[in-house]
């Protein structure tokens, strides 16, 4: 079984610990993991902002990079949903526009291979106990893409419940969007923030130490709010919890907290 890790651009650049954790978990379960370095980004930001044409080369790239693998595993529900829901649409549109069927075929071949991490663990490997230990109180935010587009159901919760020492508490309003939504977070920042603050308030009400999710994009938004509000609650990707064992030093493994934003900001925005 040739298994490729599709890490996604956000994880590669900002959350490498999540990638390392995925490798740790999969290798512990006897899976040989490969990371094809030709991968970059699935094109979701472009697609969802209305730049479908700009997405096409990235669809082609994804299909080529992962063509030789049996399974492609990603710790990002939204990127998995991008491939599953939108790649076929993008392919169909290129055909409809008379630009051949190559992209549609390539995208079609990729779709069934792509699994979100918890799907891969539960459905393909058939495990819920991944041998982790994490003696902390955790609440789980089932991001919209995992919840509605992928239909992950209780897979993440089953995995968390099997972690030794972990106390899983239900998140009120769990099924509500956290307000990230890609470029929505900046194009409609006020509403995005209001949604995130409600999510954070609900998470805080559970008394959990860790707000867990399966999508670092949502966690970046929520973690950024938590840090700004000086909350002790920390946002952590489920892979990092599933990778934790008793051999690890005390305390939950956690990414560095979101840092203060020193230095100029506006002037550094890419403008062309």
């Amino acid at each position: 079984m040739r298994v490729a890790l599709f890490l996604t651009c956000v994880n590669d650049a900002l959350y490498p610990d999540t990638g390392r954790a995925v490798v740790t978990v999969l290798e512990r379960l006897g899976v040989e993991v490969d990371f094809p370095t030709g991968q970059t980004c699935c094109g979701q930001p472009q697609y969802n902002t209305g730049y479908r044409r700009e997405t096409e080369p990235l669809v082609r790239r994804m299909a080529e990079v992962f063509a030789d693998y049996d399974h492609v595993v990603t710790p990002s529900g939204s990127c998995a949903a991008m491939v599953r829901d939108n790649y076929p649409r993008i392919g169909a549109r290129t055909r409809a526009e008379g630009r051949g069927t190559a992209l549609e075929r390539a995208a079609g071949a990729l779709v069934p291979k792509v699994h979100e991490l918890t799907e891969f663990l539960v459905d393909v490997l058939g495990v819920t106990d991944v041998g982790a230990s994490f003696p902390h109180t955790v609440t789980y935010h089932p991001s919209c893409h995992g919840l509605r587009m992928l239909g992950l159901g209780d897979r993440p919760r089953r995995l968390l419940q099997a972690v030794r020492g972990l106390n899983l508490v239900e998140l009120p309003g769990a099924e509500e969007c956290c307000g990230f939504g890609g470029t929505f977070a900046v194009k409609n920042a006020a509403v995005s923030t209001a949604m995130g603050q409600d999510k954070v308030r609900n998470a805080r009400s559970t008394g959990a130490e860790v707000l867990c999710g399966a999508d670092n994009s949502c966690l970046m938004h929520l973690g950024g709010l938590l840090h700004r509000q000086d909350e002790p609650l920390r946002a952590l990707h489920i892979a990092e919890i599933l990778a934790a064992t008793e051999d690890l030093p005390d305390g939950p493994p956690t990414r560095p907290t979101n840092g203060p934003t020193d230095g100029p900001t506006e002037s550094l925005v890419v403008s062309a």
Binding site: P16, G38, P57, F66, D68, T183, K187, N258, G259, A272
Partner: protein
């Protein structure tokens, strides 16, 4: 006279203000959560809901595909039953037809059944300009009218108001529209309903002309159908001498049998009721039974253009149940007015810009008024894939350029180029790490950094990207990591390895 949505600011601006309105948000959260929970229970009672939903979708799609034929059939049936059919291409034409019909009766007042179509065309304002007063008789619509307010929900236009506010509105304004509010009016629902009942009864008994919309138009018999829950609709549809119904051309269903599906889908989705309290049907005009003069105004107003769009046309399946509003987290925070149209929420975000076009700033902003969370698609009883249409419309907005989109396209293009060249991408990651703390703020959108950091911190850049860690870990294996050699299209692989130098 009530205000209009014309001149509203674009969604992000309006929402930034309304989101700060604590009272409105509390009212909305309470109301939408109550109804969404009730709806979920009502829907769960039917074990064939999925099949019903599919049937609703298919009936609408089949009808839309042959809309021209069904409309002609409906016109013939209405005419045969003694009604008169008028065709209105746009709002101005529809308003002119209705105003002329009212004037021909010699009346200066009309009573109205709650109708989205007449709000869409701004009928009340148009009639006022002709010296005709239109009285809304739906309770929530009455509250909006008396409060000189705008509707903020499809089904419950005054959803943003609480009982206390409604009492004030009744007490202060009922007198200038007719019968004043009773002395010592409290804010109990029964008291408020009684005040409205007394106020409205005078209107029903005096009215010679009524204006309505319709939920459905059955092509085979030319029958119009209105679903309502207060009984005011039935009063308007039966008491006056002249009835004018303004109906969007997409409201057609071919047969009475098709109605069966929608009479199950609509009440459960909208009010969480198994069956709605009042279902009124009327066909043409008959002596001694209801209005003696019946006019049907068939309204296009952008619907034909919407129908021409293969992806966007699914918005025309909408049966205005408002379930998508009640689950939408964006609507819940921003409120209905921020959408700048009588159609707020997820359906408004795809319907309004299709009916009105994408030229204005507010209409171009609506497709972005969503986090694409998909909750609206999940509850929609006719399975409108609202997120799909939103993205489709975003593409159109991006293509038309303007208001930052040229800049954005350039940013997206350069991001795509970078992401299609892994070696260059890798170098960029490395460079960003050299300038630590800078790169993540280079979000590929104009103004994005500030919009993010106003309320949220950004994560610090890690010491090392994952790919550079991977290469350190498996240096000798880098060659097997390039099936089909997509890297070869760009730069030699060893350039990638520089990233590991950090």
């Amino acid at each position: 006279m009530s205000r209009t949505f014309i001149g509203m600011p674009a969604f992000p601006k309006a929402a930034a203000v309304s989101t700060q309105n604590r009272q409105m948000r509390a009212n909305l959260t309470h109301a939408t959560h109550t109804i969404r929970d009730k709806r979920a229970r009502a829907v769960a009672e039917l074990d064939d809901w999925a099949e019903l939903r599919l049937a609703g979708k298919q009936i609408k799609d089949r009808t839309l595909a042959r809309l021209d034929e069904y409309l002609v059939q409906a016109e013939a049936a209405v005419t045969a039953a003694g009604g008169t059919v008028h065709w209105a291409a746009d709002a101005a034409e529809a308003n002119r037809i209705v105003a002329d019909l009212v004037k021909a009766t010699g009346e200066r007042e009309v009573v109205k059944v709650k109708s989205m179509a007449t709000q869409e065309i701004g009928l009340n304002e148009a009639l006022a300009a002709e010296g005709i007063t239109a009285y809304e008789t739906d309770l929530a619509e009455l509250i909006v009218q008396l409060g000189d307010d705008l509707p903020s929900h499809i089904l419950v236009p005054a959803i943003h108001r609480n009982r206390g506010e409604i009492r004030e509105i009744f007490r202060d304004n009922m007198a200038s529209w007719g019968r004043p509010a009773p002395e010592g009016l409290t804010d109990t629902p029964a008291d408020l309903a009684e005040a409205a009942r007394l106020h409205l009864r005078e209107k029903f008994l005096r009215a010679k002309v009524a204006v309505s919309g319709a939920n459905f138009l059955v092509a085979e018999t030319g029958t119009l159908v209105v679903l309502e829950s207060e009984g005011n609709g039935r009063m308007c549809l039966t008491l006056p001498e002249t009835l004018i119904s303004v109906v969007g051309i997409e409201k057609v269903v071919p047969t009475w049998q098709d109605l069966e599906v929608f009479l199950q889908l609509l009440p459960r989705s909208s009010t969480a009721e198994r069956m709605n309290p009042y279902t009124s049907t009327w066909t043409g005009a008959a002596d001694g039974d209801g209005p003696s003069d019946f006019h049907l105004v068939l309204l296009d107003n952008g619907r034909t253009d919407t129908l021409a769009d293969q992806v966007g046309r699914q918005a025309l399946r909408c049966i205005r149940c408002s379930a998508c509003l009640n689950v939408c987290p964006v609507y819940e925070r921003a409120g209905g007015h921020a959408y700048g149209s009588p159609y707020p929420g997820p359906i408004g975000a795809i319907l309004t810009p299709q009916l009105r076009g994408l030229q204005s700033e507010v209409d171009a902003s609506l497709p972005y008024a969503s986090s694409l969370c998909g909750a609206c698609y999940e509850v929609c009883p006719v399975a409108i894939d609202i997120p799909e249409v939103l993205v489709h419309l975003r593409e159109k907005v991006a293509e038309q350029g303007g208001a930052g989109h040229r800049l954005e396209r350039a940013a997206m293009k350069s991001a795509s180029w970078l992401l299609d060249h892994p070696a260059a991408y890798s170098t960029a990651l490395k460079a960003s790490r050299l300038a630590r703390g800078v790169q993540p703020r280079r979000l590929p959108l104009p103004g994005a950094a500030k919009a993010w950091t106003d309320s949220r911190d950004l994560p610090p850049l890690p010491e090392q990207s994952f790919r550079s860690w991977w290469k350190e870990r498996t240096p000798d294996q880098s060659d097997r990591n390039k099936p089909n050699a997509p890297n070869a299209r760009t730069e030699p692989t060893d350039r990638d390895q520089q990233d590991g130098a950090n």
